[in-house]
């Protein structure tokens, strides 16, 4: 079965600083990997996704993530954070289980931006 680990429950960053949110996955096959963002009192929205090809994928609002197969990681990065980036970020892996696709999420990382 697949699983996702986000080791940091909370990350605090100063506005304008760079950001990395960590994600490691476990899946025996070829993974489809995702980052979703949840703003307060909302559902989740897709930030970016990786299916194949270039291991560095670009997302919305200046976010990017790098797939490193040897490390089973898919860390999220941003060069300069803005206060509006405050949210909870979820890493997810998609896998086929018993003939059906399912998405498994990590526990999420709450990002706090300090002025």
């Amino acid at each position: 079965a697949q699983s996702v680990t986000q080791p940091d429950a909370r990350v605090t960053v100063s506005e304008g600083a760079s950001l990395q949110l960590r994600c490691k996955y476990s899946y025996s096959g070829t993974p489809y990997l995702f980052w979703y963002v949840q703003y307060p009192r909302q559902g989740l929205q897709l930030l970016l996704k990786y299916y194949s090809g270039d291991p560095v994928v670009q997302g919305v609002n200046g976010f990017e993530a790098e797939f490193i197969k040897s490390n089973s990681s898919f860390h999220l990065r941003k060069a300069s954070v803005h206060w509006s980036d405050s949210a909870v970020y979820f890493c997810a892996v998609s896998a086929r289980t018993e003939g059906a696709d399912r998405l498994t999420f990590g526990k999420g990382t709450q990002l706090i931006i300090q002025p």
Partner: protein, 109 residues
């Protein structure tokens, strides 16, 4: 844009009560999902479906039933609600890229 609508948005019920959470999508997606979100656990998959009449068991199915009546509609049923089912429930549709509803907050007292 994809649309997923959940109802009710908020619900309070008593222990042992009967609750139905509804979800409708207008995206023509085959796949639909029910997740619960709890602090410290993230999102956990309860049930999902890849078409009308189909039902797949997720990771935390105990105490929940689900039914997919049409391609658009997916229901989550709690027939004997317990306080441990107090949570924020999300419905989603799509395959790999999911579109989420705004959530249904359930409190069981």
């Amino acid at each position: 844009e994809a649309a997923v609508t959940q109802s009710p948005r908020n619900k309070v019920t008593v222990t042992g009560g009967n609750v139905t959470l509804s979800c409708r999508q207008t995206n023509s997606h085959n796949y639909m999902y029910w997740y619960r979100q709890d602090t410290g656990h993230g999102l956990r998959l309860i049930h999902y479906s890849y078409g009308a009449g189909n039902l797949q068991i997720g990771d935390v199915p105990d105490g929940y039933k689900a039914t997919r009546t049409t391609q658009e509609d997916f229901f989550l049923l709690l027939e004997l609600a317990s306080p441990s089912q107090t949570s924020l429930y999300f419905c989603a549709s799509g395959r790999n890229t999911l579109y989420f509803g705004e959530g249904s907050r359930l409190i069981v007292v």
